[in-house]
């Protein structure tokens, strides 16, 4: 069906824009998983909680997502810090199965709290549901804005992790926890900072989800699934990997949907994932 270059460009752009959202949405999961060794099963629920915060700010105060996304980052970062002080510390020192159960429970708790407080209705932010023409292709204005926000946040995070002393400490803990301790790095401090940033970026991406997509209290599961695929594809703990993997996933899905049928695109995305696991992790 990709008969014209216009459709090819359109498909590429569509995939790229949604892929960037998948990518940034997976960074929080990747960071907490890589650094603390905790698989955050409540990642999707947290993301949707942030989407609801963004929605309430829009409906209550008329704040556009452009303003609420940075705010969501701060709320998330504070929540992450509190979470680490309250539970995270204990979870890192127990059997991993306890932390899985804990996060699963947290996800149920969050989803049902939202359901009870705000109801099951589909929500969306009717802000900038507009089309812009980029040459021969049409593009969603909201998705372009979200891409801008993704870009800014990604570059900031990248510079923090790769160019600062603190970032170096974080990378050291990902690479070798025991080695980092021996070198005098305060692992507890690194854990706290990473949880904080991880939750912050997750909330930030939840805000972007609210900007581009409608959602319900139970939408988190779908995002969790994509985030898992993205993290495994990109490598646990790698923010650049997560980001690029998200874009790859978006583009693959987009082309499969246009060339064949969208009904099979999740299957193709997950087959890609299985192949990557086979070849990348299989030979260790």
């Amino acid at each position: 069906m990709v008969t014209s270059p216009d459709i090819f460009l359109q498909t590429l752009l569509n995939g790229f824009l949604i892929g960037a959202v998948y990518g940034v949405a997976a960074i929080g999961l990747s960071l907490v998983w890589g650094v603390l060794g905790l698989v955050n099963l409540s990642h999707g629920a947290l993301l949707i909680a942030a989407a609801y915060i963004t929605f309430l700010l829009y409906v209550g105060l008329g704040a556009p997502p452009l303003v609420s996304a940075p705010l969501a980052f701060l709320i998330g970062a504070a929540a992450g810090l509190l979470f680490y002080k309250g539970f995270g510390k204990r979870l890192t020192s127990t059997d991993p199965s306890y932390s899985l159960l804990f996060f699963f429970g947290l996800a149920l708790f969050l989803t049902n709290t939202i359901l009870n407080l705000l109801g099951p209705d589909v929500r969306g932010i009717p802000w900038l549901i507009e089309s812009a023409a980029l040459g021969p292709v049409s593009v969603s204005v909201a998705r372009l804005i979200s891409f801008g926000l993704v870009g800014v946040s990604f570059i900031t995070l990248y510079l923090f992790i790769n160019k600062t002393f603190y970032g170096k400490a974080i990378r050291a803990v990902v690479a070798n926890r025991l080695g980092a301790v021996t070198a005098g790095i305060d692992v507890q401090w690194v854990f706290a900072v990473c949880t904080s940033i991880g939750f912050g970026i997750t909330f930030f991406s939840g805000s972007l989800v609210a900007l581009v997509n409608p959602f319900t209290p139970s939408s988190g599961d779908g995002y969790l699934m994509y985030a898992f695929a993205t993290v495994v594809l990109g490598g646990v703990g790698s923010i650049v990997g997560a980001f690029l993997a998200g874009i790859l996933l978006g583009i693959v899905e987009s082309f499969v949907g246009v060339l064949f049928t969208q009904g099979v695109s999740p299957a193709v995305a997950f087959i890609t994932l299985v192949l990557v696991i086979l070849f990348r992790y299989g030979r260790r």
């Binding site: 014209s4 498909t11 949604i18 589909v122 987009s254 246009v258 695109s265």
Partner: protein, 418 residues
């Protein structure tokens, strides 16, 4: 003087006695054959069902339950249901449990309703998935079940002999939208896209069959995955083929996304008809102006006025519903109430509570309630009398626009360009 001669003759005496006896006998027969006053049955008539009070279907499930409960009040307020063979009025009692929107629970609960609670008749749970499960159990025990809140054609294709539908079948849900296009356009083309689930699939297949039968070109017939967070691939494909109408959908989140992305990608069909989400106010809140001109089928709307043959009028239903529940009814509530009326009509017609006779009574029952006409196909039990209406969002208001004889507003055609 002979006494015998002065008194009545023997023959006359016999005659008098005979007359007295005959009169007495006739009087006795008359007294006995006089219908005795109907009595109130010593036990209630129990209507059993499971309903989703929690889980995925809890919202429509509760709305349906509210309708059924209101029907119970309505019928009991009028003395109950008359069963002719027993000459008794039965008060109605509901026996229901929360099925948590789960098939496993439905199996357990319907077994329990039949074997332990020994209910007289069954209503189905909400949703096609759960109703299909319950229908298997109704068949196994030969128990009548009114199917309400479920309309997948699959339920009625199993050869089950004890089910009676109340919703217009899924396969007919988008046929009116095709009628709308045909009225305004010569040899139109459509794209039918649907979510990967049983309900949306039967709607889409029904729409496709109807379109082809009417000579409408179906240029795209595509499914999208359940958890799709991006529908631009399917829309890009449609953009490539240029259609007059986009029909389909599936659930809430995906349909809102579909409208949003169609606008963002600059796809401008003359008709866009979706399955479920436009009937909710949240649809408008999430899309605002982008909702303008979008069509959707509905089983019932409060503005509709039918020439009723049984039960309350729409206004009576509305006011009693608001008085009891403090909220507005949805079509789920209306159908729940109507299912009760339908059952009531069948029992009064059959004059018995025997399930076989009741099911038979439905075959030539044809009633009109505030919810619309109800009549089944005798062979399958599927609903053929009830008709849908089409809604359209017009400047933030939801109007009935089709069929034209019940419309509350003129249809906006074509849908305004975004």
């Amino acid at each position: 003087m002979k006494i015998g001669k002065t008194g009545l003759s023997k023959a006359a005496l016999v005659a008098v006695v005979a007359v007295v006896l005959v009169v007495g006998a006739v009087a006795a027969v008359l007294v006995l054959s006089q219908p005795s006053q109907p009595t109130v049955a010593e036990r209630p008539l129990t209507v059993g069902f499971s309903i989703s009070i929690s889980g995925d279907f809890s919202v429509p499930g509760k709305k349906q339950l509210e309708g059924i409960e209101l029907w119970k009040d309505y019928v009991n307020g009028r003395g109950g249901i008359f069963v002719k063979d027993e000459n008794k009025y039965y008060k109605v009692e509901l026996k229901y449990y929360d099925d948590k929107s789960s098939k496993d629970e439905v199996i357990r609960l319907y077994e329990k309703l039949i074997n332990e609670d020994k209910v007289d008749v069954l209503l189905s749970p909400y949703s096609s998935t759960l109703a299909l499960t319950a229908a298997g159990i109704s068949e196994k025990y030969g128990r009548l079940m009114i199917v309400v809140g479920a309309n997948s054609d699959t339920i009625f294709k199993q050869g089950y002999r004890y089910i009676v539908g109340t919703y217009t079948p899924a396969s007919k849900m988008l046929t009116q939208a095709i009628d709308v296009i045909l009225k305004h356009k010569q040899s139109p083309s459509v794209a039918i896209i649907y979510k990967d689930d049983a309900f949306a699939k039967s709607v889409a297949e029904g729409a496709k069959a109807y379109a082809e039968q009417k000579g409408v070109r179906v240029l795209a017939f595509e499914m999208y995955p359940r958890d799709a967070k991006d529908l631009s691939p399917i829309l890009t494909k449609i953009k490539g083929v240029q259609v007059d109408a986009i029909l389909g959908g599936g659930h809430y989140e995906d349909e809102v996304l579909l409208v949003r992305q169609a606008k963002e990608l600059g796809i401008n069909p003359e008709v866009m008809a979706l399955l479920v989400s436009p009937s909710l106010p949240a649809f408008y809140d999430a899309l605002k102006e982008a909702s303008q001109g979008i069509l959707a089928p509905s089983h019932w709307e409060p503005q509709l006025k039918y020439q009723i043959t049984i039960g309350p009028t729409a206004d009576e239903f509305l006011s009693s519903f608001r008085a009891k529940w403090g909220s507005d009814p949805s079509y789920h509530s209306a159908a729940g109430f109507a299912a009760g009326l339908y059952l009531q009509a069948a029992i009064e017609k059959a004059g018995t509570l025997k399930n076989d006779a009741l099911r038979k009574a439905f075959n030539d029952l044809d009633i009109v309630t505030f919810y619309g006409r109800l009549k089944i196909d005798p062979a399958t039990g599927n609903q053929v009398g009830h008709e849908l209406v089409l809604l359209q969002w017009q400047s933030g208001r939801k109007e009935v626009v089709w069929p034209e004889n019940v419309a509350t507003s003129r249809i906006i055609y074509p849908k305004p360009s975004w």
